[in-house]
Each structure stands twice: as C-alpha cells, then as structure tokens.
Symmetry: C2
Subunit: 209 residues, 2 copies
C-alpha cells in the first residue's frame, strides 16, 4: 500500500485515524490517575507516554484538550500531581474502558472496578492493580500549535515496582513485570524479549548482554 | 523497590539512566534516515517516536542535540526531509549499531550494511529492509527547556507498507508486519496481540473486535 499527502487527505476520518495511530509503531499505554480540588478521582488511559530525560527524571505525554480526557488536564493544573500506572493483561478491558465519556463527578475507578491506592506524599491516586507505579509532579506544558494538542512534562518523584524485575545495572525486565504494549487506538500486546545489546561503538557489532 | 526524588538523585548515572529509560514502558523504535546538503546519508535509531495527530497526520520525536544524533537534526533543518523506518527482528543489531559515534562523513548505511532506498519526491533515504516506511516533512520544533532536548514535529507525506497488514477499517497489524518494540536504552521485543477492543462507551464493557 502506498499513500501520499494527497491520498491521505481523501480518506475517511475513522480509517485514517486507525491507520495513522498504528503507523507510529508500538507505544506505552498507561493509566494516569488524578484528583480534582473537590476530591473527585479520575483515571484515564493514555498511549503517548514519552521518555524526556533520566537526570532530572522527566516523562512527557501528549494530551488532547478537547476530548473527555480534559479532566486529567484540569486536575493536573489544579493540584500539580498525577500518577502513571502500567497496564497488565489482567486489566486491559478496565483500562480501555476509562476512555468512555463518564460524567465529570463519576470516578473511572468506580466505573471500571479498578482500585485507587493512596501513597503518602502524592495527592493523586495510584492504581492498586498495577505493578509499576510512578508518582509525578507537573513541571511544564508545551502547546503544539499544529493541532491544539499539549505536551505535558512531569518529574518523577516516586517509583514503586517489584524487586525481582530489576537487574544489577538498573535495567527493568518489563516482560517479567507483565507490562503490555499498545498499537493504534485500541490494540493491546504482550511482549517477548528478543535481545538486549551492548553499548554501540564504531567498528564492533553489538553483543547480547 | 521504592524510590523518592531524593533517592533518585543519589543513584549512579548509568544505573539511573537504565531504570528511567525502562520505566516509561515499551516504545516504538525506528530508524530515521536523512541526507546532508552535501549528499552524505545518515541513519540513526530513535526510541521516542510519538503520535501527535491523525489529521493532519503528524508524528513527533525527542532529539538530544548534544549527542551523536545531532547529524539527524542538522540534516532535517537543512533539507526539511526525513524518513521513519520500522525495525524488524532481522535488523535489530544493525539498527542498534547506528547509535555508534561514526565520523560525520561515514554513512551508517555503509557502516551497518543496511541498504538505502530512494523514493521519488523524498530527499532523505529510506531503509530497504524495513516493511513500514514513512516519508516525513519537517514542520516545527519545540525546545524542552527543562533538559535541552527538542521535540521535532513532522508531517507524514508518504507511506508504504505491505497490503496484507491492513484491515478494512484502516487498522494495521503491526505484529504481522514484524515491527518490534523497545524497552530502555538497549532492549528489543517481539509482540503478540492480546486484544483489540471496541470503542469505549459508558456502562458497557468493551468487546473484542
């Protein structure tokens, strides 16, 4: 299949959305937990988590301000706090369901059966069922003028994961942690490690480590 | 394992880099092809491709201007053109090796044995061995002031992929296309589809589609 700028313009919107959301490759999907100033807890799935830097430890995600997920944005702006929780195969359906347009005062925790977990020092709720839980502090936002999305940047201020997924050099075995990958708008995948390769230097092919 | 802002600061740099690069979850890794004004071709692996929007079709990636990959940035700025090529299990080692610090006039195509492919209308080289090839036009950049990285935004102006990976609704079967996922700085994974779920609406659990 071949597409050009012109042929992409003529496609049905839903067809194009399915294709373009797939074409970027596999993505991290995670549940973002927030709480409003009134104490209403919110949980929403995002598939645009991106590593920004390790020191300071920064993660970003792309937010569409005009969708149901604006609760997440408003809560982050109001409280400065959010959580990022990895998704396992056991909670795929509940995680996907957080994308439904619930009323503002209806918690997606209640609606989907996922369990909020509260950890001292972080206002926003974590997802108890997740094995990898990240506490985040809002840092900055970059409005993307080309389409009205927003890149949200946050700093990792808390990390929790099972001891047995970490190796001596800090690496995390995400397969062992049952973390899933996503593709497109609606597809969820398990993963199997093919290779972990040594640091690349010229004129020497990398080796398995 | 539990970490706080304080404990993260005290870690060895390499240990922290391994851990924080893993903690964001699985990522798309792709080879970005560019060409300089002098005609020197460059190929570099990036693991921070992010979907920005489907209409117009926009992809982003995070670029570290102070690493070896600055050739990619200079070429994109000079020519306005780049390509994004998916990685298959057959070319993981070559793809990883493109991260080595080669001299500026040494093409990573020559160094790694991957084959440049030229498609009319796109200045930058594609990777012949990739099954999914995306031609990109530079649109904008957003400097991330927190750590000096840059979000590059580009528009998809060309798409090529095998006919048999697409379903009637536009969705792409990335597993069938042999696209790999990455974790951390150095790990490559194959994927298996667990679920593709129906559009989420309130009070109805999603179903397999």
């Amino acid at each position: 299949m071949t597409h050009t700028s012109q042929s992409l313009k003529t496609l049905d919107n839903r067809y194009r959305a399915n294709m373009i959301n797939c074409i970027s490759g596999f993505k991290a999907a995670a549940l973002i937990g927030t709480v409003s100033e009134n104490g209403n807890e919110n949980l929403a799935i995002f598939n645009s988590i991106v590593h920004i830097g390790a020191n300071p430890p920064l993660l970003g995600f792309i937010l569409r301000p005009t969708t149901v997920r604006r609760d997440t944005y408003e809560n982050i702006k109001a409280t400065g706090s959010y959580t990022i929780n990895h998704i396992t195969p056991q909670i795929i359906k509940q995680a996907h369901q957080t994308a439904a347009s619930y009323d503002k005062d209806k918690s997606e925790f209640t609606a989907t059966g996922l369990s909020p977990e509260h950890i001292e020092g972080i206002n926003a709720p974590f997802v108890k069922e997740s094995y990898i839980k990240i506490g985040m502090e809002y840092v900055n936002e970059y409005p993307i003028e080309e389409n009205g999305t927003i890149l949200i940047i946050g700093k990792i201020i808390s990390l929790r994961f099972p001891d047995n997924i970490q190796t001596e050099d800090g690496w995390l075995d995400l397969q062992q942690a049952d973390t899933i990958a996503t593709g497109g708008l609606d597809s969820y995948y398990s993963v199997s490690k093919l290779s972990r390769l040594s640091y690349a230097v010229p004129d020497k092919m990398p080796e398995e480590i």
